[in-house]
Amino acid sequence: MLACAAYMALLYGFIFLPVAVLALFSFQDGRFPIPPFRGFTLRWHEAVLSDEDLMAALANSLGVAGLSSLVALALGFFAARAVASGCLPGATAIRAALTAPLSVSYLVIGLGLLASLNLMGLRLSLATVAIGHVVINTPLCFAICAAALGPPQQAAERAARDLGAREWQVMALVTAPMILPALLAAFLLSVTFSWDEFIIAFLLSRFDVTLPVEIWSLLRSGLNPKTNAIGSVVFLVSALAVLSIELAILRRR
């Protein structure tokens, strides 16, 4: 029992110690976020909140995450319904092709998109970053939706059609509400992935950037408790999103 508790403490320590240290030194009263801890101040948090570039990047990140996740969810949901309907020839191949990008590195996807956007003559902006995030999150949303759709949904859809529902009504009034927890989980997971994503956002943005890119440029000028402060804010937002996912799924059990 004691050994178990000790093991658990070690494990959680291993996972959460870096985050705890990061958060702790965002309150460092001094110029360097390194031990020893000299005293408690909210100076760096103030500095973050009054930094217009950082705040703009935070708003950009939220916008890109929300919008790209909505699009990825819609695409993933439609694709999952089509594959689950069973009347699609080559459904297995389509399923494999849709989920395969999950295993491709973000760097490769980012470089590929950069080349494609150049070819198409599209200028880099937050919109291109959002497109990149739709590309990485659609397979994820598809996989989650496809796992949630099964015979009960198909039977209910059939009954809805029998009672006179049009296809969009079947989707909006029957299918989507039946798998709402999965849709919510897929959306929030997409938001967290987009929120944290650096390499694609870095490659596909120019003047307006997302938060991870802004933090990266901040880091280039050396370590500073301000980076810790913004880091803890980022962590807080991600943690809230993940917590919401767990609540969404557990509430239904």
């Binding site: 009954a159 059609r161 029998d162 009672l163 006179g164």
Partner: protein, 348 residues
């Protein structure tokens, strides 16, 4: 609101198997039609085609005189009670029942009133605010029925609706289905593999096998004078005595039997007798058919089922249902007789 169904020359293939192989059927408006047959006989395929969930390869289907081929399920005057109920789990019972009316653009108030009336019809009055998860299987079945009837279809399709219920509940639901059908007057097409269920509720029994209709008619007629060998045996035990048609009768090992005037002289035929139409001497004034030795006697509550070996050179096995009070033990000799009216003749 009710309508007749007319089906002609309907075929449906799945790969090499013929799920439906030339179906001709007319169901009058307001009838309670039961499609009866073993699994794989094509009855569910036929129901799916009537409901618009599947298309036939060839043939015609019309409901109320309107051609239905190519018309999607949503636009047919049919609704379906599915085997797995297929209720909407995220909606209340009232929302479930009112769903079809919502799709027809009816106001919230009218939907609520109609849902309450339909729930009342199926014996779930005042439970509209519950969710399907809070109900038992039998209750879900009722909600599915109310939901399908709420839109006032001309034809209601029922896909083995009682298959998942236990025997007592099943018998009770059969009686209720029959009563509800009489009340609403809608044409019902009900699929089952349970012959007792079919005979209990049908106005028109359609016996199917291997994609073909073996017999169709009122249950009494189909049971007593089936038109095919399959229909005869599927509806219950049947003694079948082969013989050649001679002088308008079937010349069996037990003597000439039945009325075979419809068959050509000299062809082979079967004289068919239900076990309950065989009676023992002492219980009847009929002429004796044969003496037989009892091989096996099984008490079945309402009757005693006897397996006997007929007194003939071929040693024909006969199954007879005698009153439960009849004293009969294996080894006993018995004189069996039959009412000639109750002998049915089928071509062999």
């Amino acid at each position: 609101m009710t309508a007749p169904i007319e089906i002609a020359g309907l075929t449906r293939r799945f790969g090499a198997t013929r799920a439906l192989d030339g179906i001709d059927l007319e169901v009058p408006a307001g009838a309670f039609c039961v499609l009866l047959g073993p699994s794989g006989c094509g009855k569910t395929t036929l129901l799916n085609i009537i409901g618009g969930f599947d298309d036939p390869d060839t043939g015609r289907l019309s409901i109320g005189g309107r051609d239905m081929i190519g018309v999607p399920a949503a636009q047919r005057p049919t609704t379906t009670v599915f085997q797995d109920y297929a209720l909407f789990p995220h909606m209340t019972l009232a929302e479930n029942v009112g769903f079809g009316l919502r799709m027809r653009g009816q106001s919230r108030a009218r939907r609520a009133a109609r849902a309450e009336a339909m729930l009342d019809l199926v014996g779930l009055a005042g439970q509209g605010a519950k969710r399907p998860a809070a109900l038992s299987g039998g209750q879900r079945q009722r909600v599915a029925l109310a939901r399908a009837l709420a839109v006032e279809p001309d034809v209601l399709l029922l896909d083995e609706p009682l298959g998942a219920l236990d025997l007592n509940l099943r018998r009770q639901m059969q009686a209720e289905l029959k009563a509800i059908q009489a009340k609403v007057g809608v044409t019902f097409v009900h699929v089952t593999h349970d012959q007792e269920e079919a005979m209990a509720i049908a106005d028109l029994v359609v016996v199917m096998d291997a994609g073909r209709i073996e017999d169709a008619g009122p249950p009494e007629r189909v049971y007593r004078a089936p038109r095919s060998r399959f229909a005869a045996t599927f509806l219950g035990d049947m003694n079948m005595l082969p013989g050649r048609v001679t002088g308008g009768r079937v010349e069996t090992v037990l003597g000439p039997l039945g009325d075979a005037t419809a068959l050509a002289e000299g062809t082979m035929a079967l004289a068919c007798i239900r076990p309950e139409h065989l009676s023992a001497a002492g219980h009847t004034t009929l002429a004796p058919l044969t003496t037989a030795r009892i091989v096996d006697a099984v008490f079945q509550g309402t009757h005693r089922k006897l397996t006997c070996l007929g007194d003939s050179r071929q040693g024909t096995t006969l199954v007879a249902h005698l009153p439960a009070t009849a004293a009969a033990a294996p080894g006993d000799l018995l004189t069996l007789s039959v009412d000639p009216e109750m002998v049915t003749v089928l071509p062999a």
